[in-house]
């Protein structure tokens, strides 16, 4: 009975709290972007390499840059109120559509990366905790730190060289076989093949964090009395770890994973660049470079909604993991 109620309550609270946050984000970003030198017309005219005063004027009109800043903000908010993210003259399409094109791919990539990171992280962390203070622990933690401290693009390029150029097993970039007409399972396999390398590159960075976190949490939980109770029942170490320790240790990890969702979107820029992956991170980067504020604001808005959603999911997951959460306090 209380589980559903708990979930509904959490959801309602989150949604109510999200409104001011999102509004704050829009306004903050809007003014932040105003501070960046140059505007979309500069970029477009600059890219063209040749322009005239008239074409510049026309460009500014198209972007709505000829209005005072506050009017631009009001226009944007007006658009939002009608659930429209505006139109990007640079891309020649509504921002919603532009983002919509890339969102599924980005989300899958992020989800896969996060899944890989958590899976490997949990495994490494559990192993490290099991061998805490001994050689395997030391070696694994150095390995994890290596993953962490090697720049993402370096790993990315090395993986490409190894798996695409040398071995020829996996494609070097892109999000799927271009022009293929795969359906069903074949399509999934195809997509997965393209996703393995970028997801791994993206994940490795986080593996270290989860591994360390898991290790710490497991060590913490391991010393608690109820673990001893479990052993006293005659359970084997593996069962104790999986059934009793891990679940309790998952809570700080889910917290961290929630925090990483936003970070991943941004951290993906580099990986997306290396793998020519048509993702939102790259789009955001290009929007900054192109001073295409409607697109950028759209992405940032989406990202904040995503993060808030992720936080909610984390809250729910934690409420499920730990019955004490959400009931009291």
């Amino acid at each position: 009975m209380s589980a559903l109620l708990r979930i509904l309550r959490t959801l309602r609270r989150t949604l109510l709290q999200a409104v001011p946050t999102i509004l704050g984000i829009i306004i903050l970003n809007f003014f932040l972007l105003q501070l960046a030198p140059g505007d979309a017309a500069d970029v477009m005219a600059g890219e063209a390499g040749s322009a005239t005063v008239e074409t510049m004027q026309a460009l500014r009109e198209r972007f709505g840059l000829d209005n005072p800043v506050l009017v631009q903000l009001a226009n944007y908010l007006g658009n939002l109120a009608q659930f429209s993210l505006g139109f990007s003259p640079r891309y020649g399409m509504p921002v919603t559509e532009l983002i919509g094109q890339r969102l599924p791919g980005t989300l899958t990539l992020m989800a896969m990366a996060l899944a890989i990171a958590i899976l490997i992280g949990l495994t490494l962390g559990s192993l490290m905790a099991a061998f805490s203070g001994r050689l395997p622990d030391r070696l694994l933690s150095i390995l994890a730190l290596l993953f962490y401290s090697v720049p993402g693009f370096w790993i990315g390029l090395m993986l490409i060289v190894l798996f695409s150029v040398t071995l020829g097993w996996l494609p070097s970039g892109g999000a799927g076989t271009i022009g293929s007409s795969y359906t069903g399972f074949a399509a999934i396999v195809d997509k997965a093949r393209y996703m393995v390398l970028p997801a791994t590159s993206l994940a490795l960075f986080y593996v270290a964090i989860y591994a360390r976190l898991t290790r710490a949490a497991m060590l913490e939980v391991k010393n608690q009395d109820f673990v001893r109770t479990a052993y006293a029942k005659g359970l084997s170490p593996v069962v104790v770890t999986v059934k009793h320790v891990l679940r309790n240790a998952l809570i700080p990890i889910t917290t961290m994973a929630g925090m990483h969702v936003g970070g991943m979107l941004g951290g993906a820029v580099v990986v997306e660049t290396v793998y020519s992956w048509p993702g939102l991170g790259r789009l955001a980067f290009e929007a900054v470079m192109g001073r295409d504020y409607t697109v950028l604001l759209g992405i940032l808005l989406l990202s904040s909604i995503l993060v808030i959603l992720a936080n909610t999911v984390v809250d729910l997951a934690q409420a499920w993991l730990d019955p004490r959460i959400g009931e009291q306090k």
């Binding site: 401290s149 925090m259 941004g266 580099v270 992405i299």
Partner: protein, 330 residues
């Protein structure tokens, strides 16, 4: 019924010192009754260590931490002596381009595509990378801890407002925000540090807040309040030391993140072009990864080892600051 039931040397009431309040006073040296079982295992030496030194001693006893400390000191030393060891601009094009390490004794680690001395770059790069890493972390920690502890400690509307602010920054994709900030402020070591601090503080704030919320409810904090401690004392002396472990781990990770973020910025061409950093060396060398891999590998190695050292120090600090661990290790 007020007779002594056992023969004892304390048969006569003993006058206590200053207060003269006790019915009895311990018969000191051998007073075995205060046995504190654990006390027996504690060596007297560690008992007499004055506060503060114990942590240091515990830290220095930890071989990992010591290794980290030595390596980091070495790096700091390298940064300090860089101008003496390699006077002149590390960006100077002093040799033939693409000399491999060992190929020319004048450039033990080779030269890059423009004929710059890689070793000089590594030395001078230590200055900037450590500067960026440490400054950004210090700033991020400072702001994050302040905001997080205020939110977590006071709760209520203070918390509501601060959490909104944290959330606003947290939901922005870090790297994109970083790019925007650098685009606004022009790349330089300082602006890059500040920008990295701006994107990294929310994480610290969240963590601190969570810790503070949990610890705030602990009995020893309630006890501190009951003793009339004021807020700053409770925040900084009672709660903060207990909230440190995750923060220390985060801090050591943050230094690494900052160094790497600077490198990613350089990768995207948004670093400070007038100074060398490990990140910029990697950024410059990345296109050459296939032909002259040492150009990315060497600064990469420097980063890896520094990060490793920092993490070892972090772990060591954590253990040392935790009276339990340092005890067990001894």
């Amino acid at each position: 019924m007020t007779t002594e039931t056992a023969v004892t040397h304390a048969a006569t009431p003993i006058q206590s010192r200053a207060s003269a309040t006790q019915a009895e006073k311990p018969d000191t040296p051998q007073w075995h009754n205060i046995k504190a079982p654990d006390a027996r295992t504690t060596r007297t030496a560690s008992v007499s260590v004055p506060a503060g030194r114990r942590e240091l001693a515990a830290f220095l006893r930890n071989p990992n931490a010591l290794f980290g400390l030595v390596f980091l000191s070495l790096m700091v030393l390298v940064a300090l002596i860089a101008p003496i060891a390699f006077p002149g601009d590390p960006l100077g094009m002093v040799g033939k381009p693409f000399l491999w390490p060992g190929q020319d004794a004048a450039f033990p680690l080779g030269t890059d595509s423009m004929g710059r001395n890689v070793l000089a770059g590594l030395f001078h790069g230590a200055r900037i990378s450590l500067f960026v890493g440490l400054t950004a972390t210090a700033l991020g920690l400072g702001v994050g801890i302040t905001v997080g502890s205020l939110a977590g400690y006071f709760g209520g509307w203070v918390d509501d407002v601060l959490v909104r602010i944290i959330e606003i920054f947290q939901t922005l994709p870090n790297f994109v925000l970083l790019v925007v900030l650098v685009a606004i402020a022009q790349p330089s070591a300082t602006t890059v540090s500040v920008a990295i601090a701006i994107v990294s503080w929310p994480m610290v704030a969240r963590l601190t807040r969570a810790e503070f919320r949990a610890i705030r409810e602990k009995d020893y904090v309630v006890a501190a309040r009951s003793l009339g401690f004021r807020h700053p004392r409770i925040i900084f002396k009672e709660i903060l030391p207990n909230a440190l472990p995750p923060l220390i781990v985060t801090a050591s990770v943050m230094v690494a993140t900052a160094i790497l973020m600077e490198s990613a910025l350089s990768f995207m061409g948004l670093g400070d072009p007038n100074v060398v950093s490990w990140g910029s060396m990697i950024g410059n060398g990345r296109e050459l990864i296939r032909t002259a891999w040492y150009l990315t590998f060497l600064p990469g190695l420097a980063i890896v080892f520094t990060v490793l050292a920092l993490n070892l120090i972090g772990d060591g600090l954590n253990d040392a600051l935790n009276p339990r661990f340092s005890e067990e290790r001894s």
